[in-house]
Amino acid sequence: MARLAMVIDTRLCVGCADCVVACKTENDVPEGFCRDWIVEQVQGAYPTPRLEIRSERCNHCDHPPCVGCCPTGASHVHRYGGVVLVDHDACIGCKACMAACPYDARFTNPKGYADKCTFCIHRVEKGQKPACVSVCPTHCMHFGDLDDPESEVAQLLRSRPNHALLPAAGTGPRVFYLT
């Protein structure tokens, strides 16, 4: 089975939030909410600070606590690509998954259900890239199957230093940041 993953090159990302806006229009994300967002982290002091800019979203974790804690099975691991999804109709809006996600990647859609990044599975299943990936003007986002050693993402992770977010939380995040 494929394990879909995203690899984002922080050396190229300019934090423009195009990925955020594209996600909002593509997925009709309601006003006041976002499925992806930009984090800027500065380390060190003037005149030699270092800046890392990251486009963050649900990490589609290998061990997703949001799925484990869901009482209705609405949160589930999709049969294709290990993508973590929410079945809107099965969700009761108990918000356990939001409390369970160490990345705070989820939110309650005003329609009542838990909402978050879907890795744009509706596009991916049609052979397209996720909306955020396809719009990024710096081409810093890559998407593909981790289990395929020939995939762009697998090759990038082999060849470039990278990190994922909060590895200590133990969820096995599948959004990686090249540094």
Binding site: G15, A22, T25, P47, S134
Partner: protein
């Protein structure tokens, strides 16, 4: 398809785009016109157009679902955007759905500036404007009308104004934007970098950015190419008092003292010359006055520059050598918004000369030579010749201004000299945010008999208008064709993708209706916009239906480097690259740029710097619901140590007070290691005070409000804005 491609000099091109073509025949043939059927898939219609959230004009494809605008994507056929829009372009959907939009024509109900209106019919509004224009013409002559416009949407109003008889047509893109740069480059190479800039960033091996904050400055192609360059290991050298996004990606960030860049550039050139690292062959073939130039900069050593710039001599030497190592693929970016310190044309000229030393003009990885497709004008009678010259630059006091100076028109409106200006038509420019010193703009407006503002939202400038003409957004209208000057020639079409939601009308309709009311029907001989566009295309031999379907017609790629056969041409007086400029000497200016130290900070103050955020355009996008969300307000960047000294933490709200006592709206502090201690930084365009801009009203602080002082560039009349100092006051 027949693509008639011509390579012309920039000067000629821009002139021909603006100038009146002679009256000629050419009857429009309906035969070639088939409405391009938009593509439909899954109930979603896709219609190509081009973006107007800034002036880059990227090809976009609108997706319309159930009659509603769903999303905008880049047009993959467009060489400019290569299928990807910037965040503002993607967020263009928000311009269409913005609840703060103007919906109906408005006539002022009380005194100017109170924002009290009566909604009127288009007929009444246009009748009012035409009546006032007739009266101004009768009492003061047609030259007493001025048009301020920005962007391609102004084309038809420009035609209207020229037909009416005034030469006073200005855009803030010259005296408030790229004017100094264009003049500095013209004085050196005879041509300017253009827009889109002819910078070959993608192929640069060493990229030098002086202020140009690519990545925040989100001009799409440049950002795409910048990322491409960084990805391929290009050395980036970035001089900026603030660690911009680009500086954060750079190999070298030089936190230069504000206003001292000329010293830095001169020192770089001194190293290149002294160490004989420059492209001697290129300079010998194309250069003029190199010896005088070399002598003139001989004293500008890195040690000398260090004192001014704060950049250590060894860093200046190392970076100069790095530039030389990669030449000619070393691009010293010309910048764009270059109105900084009042000697900006000369700084830009220094940047041009540095490029000349590196041999980058006309070379791969430097400045390419763009091409455009031939597109005939729509035939029209000759414009009347104004009886008085342009009002903005009396006696050519700014001898090298080659475009109209907005602030010159403003000054004439205030003083009545050289002759009075009584009417302003303002199209798609928010003068209150674009021109420095708001008080002067208001003083000028008080002298007017007519202020007509055509906008899409109730901007601050619209708030002062006598009549507000609500335009539909770019997504709801046709505009004139865009024959772009780029790496690869193409013509882009803007066409409506959704209908306007209320009574908004397109600019072409407004201009034409006014023209008819002013008796200028000969200048608007076309029936509607499709007639106009179709005629132009047919005369050029292009297929309108194809253009409607694809949004783009591409011409054959042309050679763009000297090495590929482009003939080096330098339309300067000497016909060469002018290291030493006789023109400048003749007008009493330095023939080789010299460094002038900037005014020192008054004790305890910070210099106000400003710039772009990638998700906003100037003052026009803050009410756009999608873009507002990703950045609802700006913050004032303060050096972390300074902030601590002042007892400020990130998120604290402060007001900025400038040297003239002007107090900004409250704005959160961003205490950061990314800026020098002697300056603060604001993203431009926030701090709206127009009541109708509900979503953006008083969110963040307006840099424009604080820029009460400006210095005028003696070469070209640009208004330098980095001249203001503030203290911070906790709220």
């Amino acid at each position: 398809m027949s693509a008639n491609v011509s390579r012309r000099q920039f000067l000629k091109i821009s002139a021909s785009l603006l100038a009146a073509a002679g009256f000629g025949g050419g009857v429009f043939e309906r035969g070639g016109l088939l409405a391009g059927e938009p593509a439909v898939a899954d109930g979603v219609r896709t219609i190509p157009t081009f973006c107007d959230i800034c002036f880059w004009k990227c090809g976009a494809v609108a997706h319309v679902r159930d009659g509603k605008l769903w999303k905008l994507e880049g047009n993959p056929l467009d060489p400019l955007c290569r299928g990807r829009l910037c965040p503002r372009g993607t967020g263009g959907v928000g311009a269409h759905i913005d609840p703060d939009r103007l919906t109906r024509p408005l006539l002022r109900a009380t005194v100017r500036g109170e924002e009290q209106w009566n909604a009127v019919s288009w007929d009444d509004a246009l009748g009012f404007v035409a009546g006032k224009m007739e009266k101004i013409k009768a009492e003061h002559g047609p030259e007493a009308m001025a048009l301020f416009s920005h962007g391609i949407g102004g084309t038809f109003l420009k035609q209207l104004m020229k037909a009416y008889g005034t030469p006073n047509l200005a855009a803030p893109s010259f005296a408030q934007c790229r004017g100094p740069r264009d003049v500095g480059f013209r004085l050196t190479f005879g041509e300017d970098p253009g827009s889109p800039e002819r910078t070959d960033i993608a192929n640069a091996r060493c990229l030098v950015l002086i202020g140009s904050h690519l990545g925040e400055n989100m001009h799409n192609s440049q950002v795409q190419e910048f990322a491409q360059a960084v990805a391929s290991g290009c050395t980036v050298i970035c001089a900026d008092p603030r660690m911009s996004t680009a500086a954060a990606k750079a190999t070298w960030w030089l936190p230069v003292r504000p206003g001292t860049d000329t010293a830095l550039v001169l020192a770089w050139m001194q190293v290149l010359v002294a160490e004989k690292l420059y492209d001697a062959d290129y300079v010998a073939r194309f250069g003029h006055g190199f010896e005088q130039f070399a002598a003139s900069i001989a004293g500008c050593t890195p040690e000398w520059a260090f004192v001014e710039t704060g950049i250590r001599p060894e860093v200046i030497r190392d970076t100069a050598r790095e530039m030389a190592r990669h030449r000619p693929a070393t691009l010293v970016h010309p910048g764009r918004h270059s109105n900084w310190y009042g000697n900006d044309a000369q700084r830009s000229r220094a940047i041009a000369l540095l490029n000349a030393l590196l041999g980058s003009w006309g070379r791969k990885g430097g400045f390419y030579t763009p091409a455009a497709m031939d597109l005939p004008d729509y035939p029209h009678p000759p414009y009347p010749k104004p009886s008085r010259p342009k009002v903005d630059n009396p006696g050519k006091r700014y001898p090298f201004a080659h475009e109209t100076i907005t602030t010159g028109i403003r000054e004439a409106t205030i003083t009545g000299k050289p002759y009075p200006i009584k009417g302003w038509m303002v199209y798609a420019t928010n003068l209150m945010h674009a021109l420095p010193n708001e008080a002067e703009t208001i003083a000028a407006i008080r002298n007017l008999d007519l202020l007509a503002v055509c906008d899409v939202i109730p901007s601050e400038t619209a708030g002062w208008a006598d009549v507000v003409l609500p335009e539909c957004t770019y997504l709801e209208r046709y505009d004139d064709l865009n024959p772009e000057l780029f790496r690869e020639p193409f013509i882009g079409l803007r066409q409506p993708v959704v209908p306007p939601p209320h009574e908004q009308k397109p600019n072409w309709w407004i201009a034409r209706e006014l023209g008819l009311r002013l008796g200028l029907q000969d200048h608007f001989a076309w029936n509607d916009i499709e007639d106009y566009l179709g005629t132009r295309l047919a005369k050029g031999g292009y297929d309108f239906a194809q253009l409607k379907r694809d949004g783009i017609i591409r011409g054959a790629p042309q050679p763009i480097y000297f090495a590929d056969g482009v003939q080096p041409e330098f339309p300067t007086p000497s016909g060469k690259i002018e290291f030493w400029s006789q023109q400048l000497a003749d007008h009493g200016f330095d023939p080789v740029p010299r460094y002038e130290a900037p005014e020192a900070n008054p004790p305890g103050t910070f210099r106000v710097l400003y710039g772009r955020a990638p998700m906003h355009s100037f003052s026009r996008t803050q009410t756009n619901p999608l873009l507002h969300e990703v950045m609802p307000e700006n913050a004032v960047w303060v050096n972390a140590v300074e902030a601590r000294r002042l007892g400020l933490r990130s998120g604290d709200r402060v007001r900025l007070r400038n040297q003239d006592g002007v107090l900004s709206d409250p704005v959160p502090v961003k205490a950061t290691e990314r800026i020098r201690p002697d300056c603060v930084y604001l993203v431009h365009g926030f701090g709206h005070t127009a009541k109708g801009l509900k979503r953006a009203y008083r969110k963040g602080a307006s840099d424009a409000q604080l820029l009460t002082r400006y210095k005028t560039d003696p070469l070209m009349g640009g208004t330098a804005l980095n001249m203001n100092f503030v203290t911070l006051e906790t709220v």
